[in-house]
Symmetry: C3
Subunit: 353 residues, 3 copies
């Protein structure tokens, strides 16, 4: 299917941009991926499916109203932070984290403002990072999400239950032993948690959606989630947190980002990615503990932190071949375009970074 | 009155720069505005009036001793953060927040160092922001204020009472109903709180001082304070916090900054400003909660955060016409110089950003 | 001794780079300094000596494996953050802070990853700061140290005792009076604490190591530690914290950095340095209080914060002569190369900044 034609057709364009926005959460600039992910959310809860769509629509419309760059809008880059912030606000203010609750009128207004704010934050963080040749990642969502979540608990007209979901590893019983479901549920849940879905089947459906656009990215997502679970187990992380996918959702995103998307996939960058997955797993616990006094969830902050730390300096490491955010497409395509011929490898450096 | 002549006359120049420094807290490069604001402070408490003057003098002298840029000094840009940090240190270490206490010798030395430090921080934050074409705003004050306030409680030779003033909305009784004084006192107090004045009449005197230099800025200050009070009420914020102007002082500053000063005033930028006021109101509560575990006041951090978020990316939004900090004078003058002729509006983009 | 020849000889080069890495903690690009400092650590505890060496080796090897800039590696700039992070992880997870404990296998792996991560963080923070002409200082260590320390307490397979060492001034009894050992032990301990050595004799040995390369830097280290102790005493800081060198280790680093290394030493920059020492002393308490809710130590964050604040804006102050990080050698050499002839002083500005 020629998705470019849909993207540029004025009638279908807006729907296409919104679906790409959903796909961009996991770096997939592909409306089919977005559609499958939406399906995975509706499979778990129609409320989350609808909120995800709402967030992406509001953020994309905001960017259009402000006359932001048309290319960025068409690639769904204004939508994905809006989708995530909508999901987060519903997930952490609902009595039942798993299915979410329909928001009140006050909460609805609040979500619309938050989603709109992510588009402004995306432009600002993009401008701040422009000299450093890295992408804003999900930082607009993390920043706006934290700021709007902090405040929500203080307004009497927004009914917010206590955070129904554990947000830190020490909220789990430490004695439970690891069993088979720890692993297959933990890996699926880790992918699901990227979209706040506490549903391991939804997680695997999302992997399927990624695979439609890039098999390497889909494999990286699984590798990130699996290695995170293994590292957490070796270091004695609580079984419940591993099974719920909490150690893995940031690691899965780090794996996709470093594993071929922003660095051309070579055996050196593969090792670098494995290092990044291990560090992300540990540091998820770290950020969780840092945020505990104020009762805030980690969101995807650890992924953003580790990926920025490992990409901004990457231009100084001659074994790696960084890909400019504007030039990053899929790991497969990056390799085809940017990997130097075998004869030159290790001698000539790519000029893309 | 030709204030330029006073600014350049070597005899009167220093006093002029200090008074402009007081005015620059609310973006008014005008010594008369500074004088009226000083009057409003003395009307509430001679201690605050004197401390404000002291802070502005020390910071301006520091900049001169370090041979900083003469133009910035003459425009009062080194003075305003010093004035604010002096006021904050007295306000939050006095038994009576409303009138303040005369500082001890140790405290006096401490304030002088803090005010001097704001001039260094102003140069540094200005250098950091230079590529992004936004101003340091009150960030030097917020940063130095927090750092010096954290430490003050730990030195036995500085007598610091407990923070006498509530700094977070949940310190107020939530059941009180809104009455008429909630509104007119709340709006006045919000303007007053910019200078730590818990006095609504002082607040309206400050608005008068702003109006001498720019009626649009004066109107924006009132609009910001009023809309903040309304938003807080709709979302069920506590009456006491609204009446004390706590939801409004950051919003009033955001309104002045976005409403014509750093963005040419058009109907689009007016809508953008309204959005910014609403978000600032909510996020004040957010930052207050974030800072609660360490017992720190919000100061004007929310204004700085929201204004930076909404200005740094603004060059990417073609419906807005950003004004360079060095070119920003008053909303009226910005419009006259930078608004394209009606025939071209929406077609040609201003080249000032 | 011609250290340049050792640095470039392929057989001795690696050892040279690692020793320079140890020296770079206190800004001394000299392997003899590194060797004496290592001796000072072994004098206190062979465990700390070995861990310091391990951290510097791992970080330097990581930089080589990633093919980072050869000049930076040869100057030991990749090693010093690795050395510090190893020391910090052992110091804060050992039952006895003074001697440290031999790490477990899990902890050993963790330290190796942390030291490797500092090399990546060094490249990234260097890239972020490149437009602002300041060095990364010990920020890679502070950042990676905090992140890895936060997480360590949450993994059952890493035995971590409670933080055995007070990390905030309010953990000391406030009534003890100052005596002679408060001063000579306090100054020595402050230098020792830079390397987590609670041993005042080790501290003076480190000063000796610095003096081999630069007498001005050695003098500045002593001045910073002594003035910090005096300021803390005047403002009523607890005796135990002064004697343990807690107020002084950040101030000593600030003194070395501003006192001739990154600013050419003149009477104006000497005053500027004194100001920086006083502010660092106060703000150490400030950061300690900020971090207390999460139980984290200050590390050298205050030194980094104050030095950045005072250097990034320094290009705007015409009384100061900043030295580019890549051009900074020793205070003595900086003066010889960059101080304008007396006839021109105050007229011509150095063009080095």
């Amino acid at each position: 299917m020629d998705t470019k034609r849909v993207q540029n057709n004025p009638i279908t364009a807006f729907g296409d941009h919104v679906l790409r926005g959903v796909g961009q959460v996991v770096f997939q600039n592909n409306p089919i991926t977005g559609l499958i992910i939406l399906g995975a959310l509706f499979f778990n809860s129609w409320i989350y499916g609808a909120i995800c769509l709402l967030g992406a629509i509001v953020a994309t419309l905001t960017a259009r109203a402000l006359r932001a760059d048309d290319g960025l809008i068409a690639d769904g880059l204004f939508g994905f932070n809006g989708a995530l912030v909508g999901l987060a606000l519903v997930a952490f203010t609902s009595a039942d984290f798993r299915t979410g609750s329909v928001p009140s009128v006050h909460m609805f207004i609040y979500i619309v403002f938050a989603a709109a704010m992510t588009s402004i934050a995306f432009a600002t963080i993009g401008a701040l990072l422009q000299p450093y040749k890295v992408a804003a990642l999900t930082m607009p969502f993390v920043l706006v999400g934290w700021l709007f979540l902090f405040a929500v608990l203080k307004f009497a007209n927004i009914e917010a239950g206590p955070l129904a979901k554990p947000v830190s590893p020490d909220q789990y019983a430490p004695v439970v032993t690891y069993v088979l479901p720890t692993w297959y549920m933990g890996i699926g849940n880790a992918i699901g948690q990227i979209f706040f879905q506490d549903n391991w089947i939804s997680g695997y459906l999302i992997v399927l959606g990624i695979a439609v656009n890039s098999r390497i990215s889909a494999g990286m997502a699984l590798l990130g989630a699996a290695l995170a679970a293994a590292v957490a187990a070796v270091f004695g992380g609580p079984e419940g947190a591993i099974r719920d996918g909490l150690f893995g959702y940031n690691a899965a995103l780090t794996a996709i980002a470093l594993g071929g998307f922003f660095l051309v996939l070579t055996w050196q960058s593969a090792l670098y990615t494995l290092f990044g997955i291990v560090v992300t797993t540990w540091l998820w616990a770290s950020v969780a503990i840092f945020l505990k006094p104020i009762g805030m969830p980690v969101l995807t902050s650890t992924f953003v932190l580790v990926t920025w730390l490992m990409l901004i300096g990457a231009n100084g490491f001659k074994v790696l071949i960084p890909v400019l955010p504007s030039a990053a497409t899929t790991p497969e395509d990056n390799r085809r375009r940017l990997l130097p011929p075998i004869a030159n490898r290790g001698i000539a450096r790519s000029t893309t970074g």
